[in-house]
């Protein structure tokens, strides 16, 4: 029981992070119908910017955690947003309207390029990161000494993610910007006829997805304490699986999918085999694609023509 609760906490934390990344996949797919394979790298870059910012801020004497964290989040979100925007402009927009596979190939190329670029400028070795937030609560204790703990960092991750997801959902469902975004998903020609700047809306989708991935990058840096240039690949595949599991194109689906993948991974490593935890995710991806390609919350197509 205690062991189960601990895995639940770990799984939720992990799931929150996957969910944040998955939103970027699902939103981009929703609006231009392509998988942005470079999205995992955006998250990786967010993590690197986090490490660098923590070091720089520390050297500048800004060490009070709330301020430091706030600044790191902002810096990281701003820079990854610029990356997201640039990638769309350089690698995808020129290919809009060409054959369907072209942007996918471009995305894979972009992903490889970004990995190598970071490896080149930051080195191939893992980057350690001294803990920023330590401590936590002990929730339960078993007779044999096993303790169930909920760290402050885990609380922060879960709370921050929840706030961001609620805010983001509000943005998409209630604001003019969100309506324009959904309109472009459904019919770009009509959105244009109503005065929506379609290109700018697509850019903005990349920017928002990148900013959320940056938050995930910051959180992961603090959570694991080490990062390297390759973390974007695995996290990317898992978040992509989360998006597909939830129903690609669906915003609540991405959040739900992220949570489920996090939980599955935590429980799989706890009860079966930690070496094969990634295999579990890939197996789910394959199964979903075979048996329910629209995912759990896939869009119902009820439109009349």
């Amino acid at each position: 029981m205690e062991y189960f609760v601990q895995q639940l906490i770990n799984g939720l934390t992990l799931g929150a992070i996957y969910g944040l990344i998955a939103i970027g996949y699902t939103m981009v797919y929703g609006i231009i119908g392509m998988i942005n394979f470079a999205h995992g790298e955006i998250y990786m870059i967010g993590a690197f910017i986090a490490v660098i910012s923590f070091i720089v801020l520390g050297a500048a004497g800004i060490t009070w955690v709330p301020v430091m964290l706030m600044l790191v989040l902002i810096i990281s979100m701003v820079f990854t947003s610029i990356y997201g925007w640039t990638i769309e402009r350089l690698a995808y927009r020129p290919l809009r309207g060409s054959f369907r596979l072209a942007p996918l190939i471009s995305a894979i190329g972009m992903s490889i390029f970004l990995q190598n670029y970071v490896q080149l400028v930051q080195g191939a070795r893992v980057k350690p990161m001294p803990p920023v937030i330590q401590g936590g609560f002990v929730i339960m204790e078993r007779a044999d000494g096993f303790v169930v703990s909920l760290s402050y960092l885990q609380i922060l991750i879960i709370v921050l993610t929840t706030v961001l997801m609620v805010g983001f959902t509000g943005l998409i469902t209630r604001t003019e910007l969100g309506r324009a975004q959904r309109a472009c998903e459904q019919d770009k020609t009509m959105a244009g006829l109503l005065g929506v700047n379609v290109d700018r809306t697509i850019s903005l989708t990349f920017v928002l997805g990148a900013a959320l991935a940056a938050v995930a990058g910051v959180m992961v840096t603090m959570y694991y304490g080490v990062i390297d240039f390759f973390i974007g690949f695995l996290a990317g595949v898992k978040a992509f699986t989360a998006a597909v599991l939830g129903g690609i194109g669906s915003l609540p689906g991405a959040m739900l999918g992220g949570l489920l993948i996090g939980l599955i991974e935590a429980f799989w490593s706890a009860y079966f085999s930690i070496e094969y935890k990634d295999v579990a995710t890939f197996a789910i991806l394959v199964l979903v694609l075979i048996f329910r390609p629209t995912g759990l919350l896939g869009k119902p197509e009820i439109e009349k023509v």
């Binding site: 020609t189 959105a191 006829l193 929506v196």
Partner: protein
């Protein structure tokens, strides 16, 4: 009544710059030439109709006015400014709204959200007033406002498409076959709405119609398009009386 309209046309037709002027416009889809040098104009305050067979290029002309697709040769001039190369979202910001072919309702958005989309280019603060106006024209939309667009009936979708275009308070309203596939009673209602917004709000309307009889009766002036060319033009009355028009577009009807 027709006589009055013809009189109005004679006046507006002779005074200065038209609201919309199409000059020698050619539009292509790949190598297919859909418009082959179209010339026409719409004066402020008019209802002008364009009739023609399937595939003549009527929808292409309406879309070319909005810059999607773009005219390859020729010019589109709106209120004295050349808008041929202006981006679509900019063109509609200048006061042109279109209810396009196939209605293009956002099926996963509610009726209210569709109408909100229509007001993107409207003056700030005008939303409540315009919404009220659209709901007065189409009370059915008010009853359905929380329903998804995709679940509306065909007639309701057409009302929504027109209402959405009206939400931006355009100076020029482009309507592509608003009566298509609708029951006679609803067709009558929609034509009545077009007449009302033209007379009461002074809105200029450019109307593409299959229902040539109705359209020509309603319009001040009309054009006939064949194969990407304008072949005939005149007042609604003249065209209704024209032998070619009668055999080609009014045969068997009314």
């Amino acid at each position: 009544m027709t006589a009055v309209k013809t009189g109005t046309t004679a006046n507006t037709g002779s005074t200065g710059e038209p609201m919309l002027r199409i000059e020698g416009v050619h539009t292509f889809y790949g190598s297919i030439e859909a418009l082959k040098g179209v010339d026409m104009q719409v004066q402020a305050g008019e209802i002008v109709t364009l009739i023609g067979a399937n595939g003549a290029g009527k929808s292409t002309l309406l879309m070319t006015i909005c810059g999607n697709p773009r005219a390859k040769f020729g010019r589109v001039v709106f209120e004295g400014e050349d808008i041929t190369q202006v981006p679509t979202f900019e063109i509609v910001r200048r006061g042109i709204a279109q209810s396009p072919e196939g209605r293009r309702i956002f099926g996963r958005m509610t009726v209210l959200e569709n109408l909100q989309m229509g007001s993107i280019t409207a003056q700030p603060g005008s939303f409540d007033r315009e919404l009220e106006r659209v709901y007065t024209l189409f009370p059915r939309l008010k009853e359905r406002q929380a329903q998804r667009g995709g679940t509306l009936s065909g007639g309701e979708q057409q009302m929504l498409a027109i209402g959405r275009a009206l939400m931006s308070q355009p100076r020029l309203l482009l309507l592509d076959e608003p009566s298509l596939g609708l029951a006679p009673l609803i067709v009558k209602q929609i034509f009545k709405v077009i007449e009302d917004i033209n007379r009461e709000q002074g809105m200029t309307v450019f109307l593409v119609e299959q229902n040539a009889f109705h359209a020509l009766k309603l319009a001040h002036r009309g054009y006939v398009m064949v194969n990407g060319n304008i072949t005939l033009q005149g007042t609604g009355r003249e065209l209704l009386a024209n032998e070619e028009v009668r055999t080609a577009y009014l045969e068997g009807g009314h």
